[in-house]
Amino acid sequence: MTDSASPNRKIHVPILTRVEGEGALNIVLGRESIERVELNIYEPPRFFEAFLQGRNHNEVADITARICGICPIAYQMTAIQAIESAWGICIPEPIYRLRRLMYFAEWIESHGLHIHLLHAPDFFGCASGLELAKKDPVSVQRGLKLKKIGNQVLELLGGRAIHPISLAVGGFFRLPRREELLQLVPHFEWGLQASIDMVRWIGGFEFPEFDSPTVYVALQNPKEYAIMNGAIASSDGATVDVGKYEQCFYEEHVEHSTALHAHRVGNPLPYQVGPMARVHLSYDQLSSTVRSLAEEIGWQLPSFNPYHSIIARGLELVQAFEEGLSILKSFDSKVEARVAYETAEASGCAATEAPRGLIYHRYDLDQSGHVCRAKIVPPTSQNQRQIERDLVQILPSMLAETDESIARRCETLIRNYDPCISCATHFLKVRRTKGVES
């Protein structure tokens, strides 16, 4: 580390904290300019797409769940929906609703953890969730309780909270009994009020003033707040069917990252997926409770301030509890757990909204239902370029600061995206280098 008086500086954050997985940040600063900013994802590539080749379609959900311990449902659900798409399988509405509840549970667990233990400490000047717990134990306990509710749902619907096992092509291997679901109602009633209180708490935070214009990309569905079904929309007006994802988006390997970088075809600028994108593109599909809450705390859209992502996550938590409560109360347990289907040589794709953003899967299947080829695009690989762009834009305002201060503020900026490095390597440590490398 050097200080702000040094003419040329390299800043290296070797291990990014409060992010999932392992990554680093390398910054090279000239005398008055930003020479290089690299989000260095060094977790080894995990080759899941290759592991899937030759596997029976019934194994795909179990294998893809292992990509991430935080968002296994996103991987499982996207995989299963892609296979169902290949074979034209239509699932009954009650099964769709139950799957949506399961996906909400993952949002509750992931958003609850990120908001309270990983992101909120930054707004209190705390180095960790532990420090925040000393300042504001009530809020941290609320976060832990919210997260626990998410895991309770996953245990019930998925058989277990880690790498759930109940999702199946055609539906579920096992459906919960109606009374089991109703037992969760009091927890969701508490969670709904607690998440509303949480958004009001977040509304009192002091947000850094920083705008980083971007193109938001997310699923959009006029019938509901899109999670598992819809077209891929972008804030610049383009909308494409999920089936055309690979014609409109591509990935490339960059030297400094083991995670691929995603691009839009014909557009050199980065784009952003995740809660900010979803809220912007589907604001009208949020419940009146959520929209009123956004107005109450004075959040105005559009917002290109990445620090506002904690607001978006908070609002989505309210949406998850409110809609989840409705699903719990109305589930029709008389529905068959799975619909019958036949395997065939076919290809299918699907996109859903993981907690961190759009996730895309495609599978080419043979006649017997085995995987010939698989393609998986996680959210973090899509956000990496936007994160680097944010850093390039904010760094000029930090040049007079010490290396330690720059490193801390850059990590804070990165946490806005809740990056999941383990998923992306299917992500951070900062290296600030003194002098421009020749």
């Binding site: 904290t17 292992r66 233990l117 532990l130 941290v140 997260k147 626990k148 880690i162």
Partner: protein, 144 residues
Amino acid sequence: MQRVIVGVGSPHGFDDVGWTVVDRLKMRRRDDTKYLKVANPVDVLDYLGECDELILIDAVYDLTAKAIQCWIWPNRMIEDGAYGGSHGFGVVQMLELASELQLLPKTVKMVGIGVQQGSISETWKRNQATEIEAILEEVEAFYA
């Protein structure tokens, strides 16, 4: 007394040692002990309200002098242990947070099983089938 034994880890490589030991303990014991597996240490917090005694079993980096080390929290040895964890939130951070929030049960015990440079101890690798029995005996003696 409700005892909760939690294996911390994942299904991947050496990181599965905590889960493997808990699975085997579950097969051997017939009391009302609750056996759990978690991938992220923070998830242990979900179960603290349900127990009087918490026993954590996890892989520990560079614990080379002995395949197994057992500690009672709070203990400096635990704090110095090289425990991994998602989000920079490992077992130690979880225990510190639980302590701060007064969520910890009266007794917290930690079993660290040594792994080296991305692989389980040489002994474990050579003969897991027999080594696991020795580990189970030692772990059970620790909390018996």
